[in-house]
Amino acid sequence: MFFPISGAHISPIYLAIVGFLIGIMGGFFGVGGSFIAGPALRLAGLDWNFAVGTDLAHIVGKSVVAAKRHRALGNIDLRLGLIMAIGTIGGAEVGAQLIQMLKRAGNVNTVVSIVSIAVYLGISSFMIWESWKTFQMQKNKAPRANLKGPERKRDESAFKPATRAIQRMKIWPMVSLPVSGVKSISLWVIIIVSFVGGVFSGFLGGGAGYIRMPSMVYLLGIPTHLAVGTDLFEIIISASYGTFSHAIKGNVDILIALVMNTGAAIGAQIGAICTQYFTGPKIRLAFVPLPLIGVVIVIYTLWSGHKL
């Protein structure tokens, strides 16, 4: 199929399958999946600038589908999502500016690669440790199958003492997040967490859900299911902003994004429904390979000198 905006010939079946696979992942983990979608679009012959912009547009569509399903499952904290969107957009701009600074200094690739490898490995190692500790803790408690309703979504975490300390920081203004079960937390903590996620998004590209989702669980104390759903809702806003910005620069082939979204629509629903059958620590443990895929991609680009 010929896509006139980017001038590319790509099989719509290929696009729909890529969208489907990323949709499952996005619905289950609350990530955009750009570290797979970007290379997949490059592999299909799309120019890098179109791959980045079109991927963002596709992320918007996929996140709408997954977020709608998560909303039906009661997994979205709208108040938290809106606050986080502010921090993410601001952070993304700062991240993009940092890239420009490093470009001028002439060492952008090395710095970004080393930072991303350190961050990805750190997240994976921490999540393996935390999930394992949580499983050990759960062995001594009543089985969760006996719990019903919202109690089933309430998370166990070995990192809880640190999370409580963060929630106790009284830096005005304080906000409550009743949907997430957080009685009181400083607005600044939420803004800083989302801002840092935004910086990584602008710095490393994509939606940076692999940083934001764990941050929401461990730093803000949001239950995993709600972190996944709320992250998707937040991605709709921040990725829409990114899509608009890239479209004005001529980097978006919306026809490709629309075709990818047909596969993602069904995949995202499957992913979102699957979260019902897994407890928080299991979702977090299954999340571990995602940052590691990012590490492999970064090492490949460092090694080969090519950008995937």
Binding site: M1, S240, F244, A247, A265
Partner: protein, 80 residues
């Protein structure tokens, strides 16, 4: 439990076939007609194109989500 899983998988397979047929029709009809119009918009009215792109992707996502939910209900006889 096994019977329930089998029912879910069967419903999903049926949904996938119906959905694929609808999507193929969508590729060749809607996208074919939209292509030229969007290309002209992208070439001459970039800001309008950017806004239209977001509206299209969100609009399609909402419609597809409703469609897949409807298909699931029709095939399984109840909502997920």
């Amino acid at each position: 439990m096994k019977a329930d899983t089998a029912k879910t998988l069967r419903a999903f397979a049926v949904e996938l076939v119906v959905y694929a047929a609808l999507v193929v029709g969508y590729f060749f009809l809607v996208l074919h007609f939209l292509g030229d119009w969007l290309l002209q918009l992208e070439l001459h009215h970039r800001t309008t194109y950017a806004g239209t792109a977001i509206l299209l992707i969100i609009g399609q996502a909402v419609v597809l989500e409703s469609l897949t939910t409807l298909l699931l209900r029709m095939i399984r006889g109840r909502s997920e």
